[in-house]
Amino acid sequence: MDYCPHTPDDIKQMQAAIGIAGIEELFSDIPGKFRIKQIPDIPQALSELETMSMMSDLAGKNKLPQFTLTGAGSYHHFVPAVVGHITGRAEFYTAYTPYQAEISQGILQAIYEYQTMIAHLTGTELANASMYDGASAMAEAVVLCAKMSGRSKIIIARSVHPEYRQVVKTYSWANGYKVVEVPYAASGQIDLDVLQKKLDDQVAAVLVQSPNFFGVVEDVASIADSAHNKGALLAAGFTDGTSLGILNPAGSLGADFVVGEGQSFGNPLNYGGPYLGIFAAKEKFMRRIPGRLVGATVDKNGKRGFVLTLQTREQHIRREKATSNICSNEALCALAAGVYLAALGKNLKRLAELNVYKTQYLKNKLLELSGWEEVFPAPVYNEFVLRCSDARKVNKKLKKEGIIGGYELQKDYPELKNTLLFCATEMISKENIDKVIEILK
């Protein structure tokens, strides 16, 4: 199967128009000794029917669980039907970046609305059109803070998602920055005393998440004060975006940047991607932030319209002087997020509350079992950490029943032996939780 509409006669006519006798002549600039006749080791072409059945077989080799109690940076939420119907419109998904504004008003306005909703949700004044994912959004914030301040030390809370910390470390290594980790206190929040000790006038940015990787809500206001006292900037993330339905956002608590994963807003789990990085900032950073930005303006007749704006920040104009090399966003994922937030509206608060109810129910039920104990006393949103006698065995038992258990923290935190990070979203029913308790009794 291929998608070329050319008939043999078309090809003949086109060759004649170009003045060549055969297709091979078009490739005469490629030195002959390197030219190949055929790509080796690629299976034979398939018809559409064969393709679909082969792909279904492959998908069938995956085992979808009954339900999952793991979040850890990727959250299973219900996606209202409207989201897929809108993102499935070919006018959106078969378009490129909106360079030609007059025929791209659809995605431009949708992104402008997305930017506005995200700015509000995060308590900031502006948001870009989205980035690759939560981790790279955080890493981009690091580069920006370092470039603006001329400082080269980065402080990151150990309670930030382990993979985000790894991405930040990779970007920092490439740029020659030093990364310092600050431990968590017994509460599960960042150890403020250690943070203050490690803060000096070489620190460009402090990075935290709230809720953090343990599900714990951080005292962002105090962290912001500490950072600002030393002239450092605060880039605060979050884990599950739906938490913003009830939590006071970091932007309102003094964070300079709010960076996080937007997957929770209408995007499926997709085995880790595509997702979208949320990048929001205080107004004063508008002309410095990375990524695409859509702005409102007027046309020749004074009619409102939207364009990509402040492009002088970007690589195609500033080239090696740009703070970031990013040149696209995750537009379709951002569109999904915008539709999701518009669909939920104020119900996002009720959804977030429901997540808290389910989480508290699961947590309390597990704590009733013998041998289970709470690890961190600080307040949580929809994730929490418990210790049990054998974390691996617990997950094995659940797996047998088709349930994905908690995330084993020991992998990333050797000190947290036999602890599990559980998550309960609105997708988990009382029946599900009661079944888990039954299995683990």
Partner: protein, 132 residues
């Protein structure tokens, strides 16, 4: 057509001007020719007071919709004032590059540098040559 280049100041080859205040300080801006080449200026990034600059080093940045250009300091010294009006009204540079569109005031560290810059006539000669 660009406005004539005033006689009361000196010019750099990078299209900046410096006007001697006679008290060891100069006012610096870009020429009318430069603003015309840049087209509509949408943003001017100015330094903070107290910044030390050497001759030929970037002291400000001007942006149009599709370009970014450094403004090089024509003299060495310390920035003692910046034209904050440009922050919200960058179009002033387009309208009056030699007057209200000034960018920074610099306290000279070497007054002799002024003599190394071009007079208006020499600057115009340079422009003519550049065009050919």
């Amino acid at each position: 057509m660009p406005k004539p280049n005033p006689q009361d100041r000196v010019y750099s080859r990078d299209h900046e001007w410096a006007k001697d205040n006679g008290d060891g300080t100069v006012v610096v801006g870009i020429t009318d020719y430069a603003q015309e080449m840049l087209t509509d200026i949408v943003f001017v990034e100015l330094p903070t007071n107290g910044k030390k600059v050497a001759k030929g080093e970037p002291v400000a940045v001007v942006e149009s919709v599709k370009s970014v250009s450094d403004v090089y300091s024509p003299v060495s010294g310390e920035v003692i004032d910046v034209n904050t009006k440009l922050e919200s009204n960058p179009e002033i540079v387009n309208q009056d590059a030699f007057g209200d569109g000034w960018m920074v005031k610099i306290r000279l560290s070497d007054a002799g540098e002024l003599k190394t810059l071009l007079r208006a006539a020499d600057y115009e000669q340079m422009l003519k040559e550049e065009k050919h």
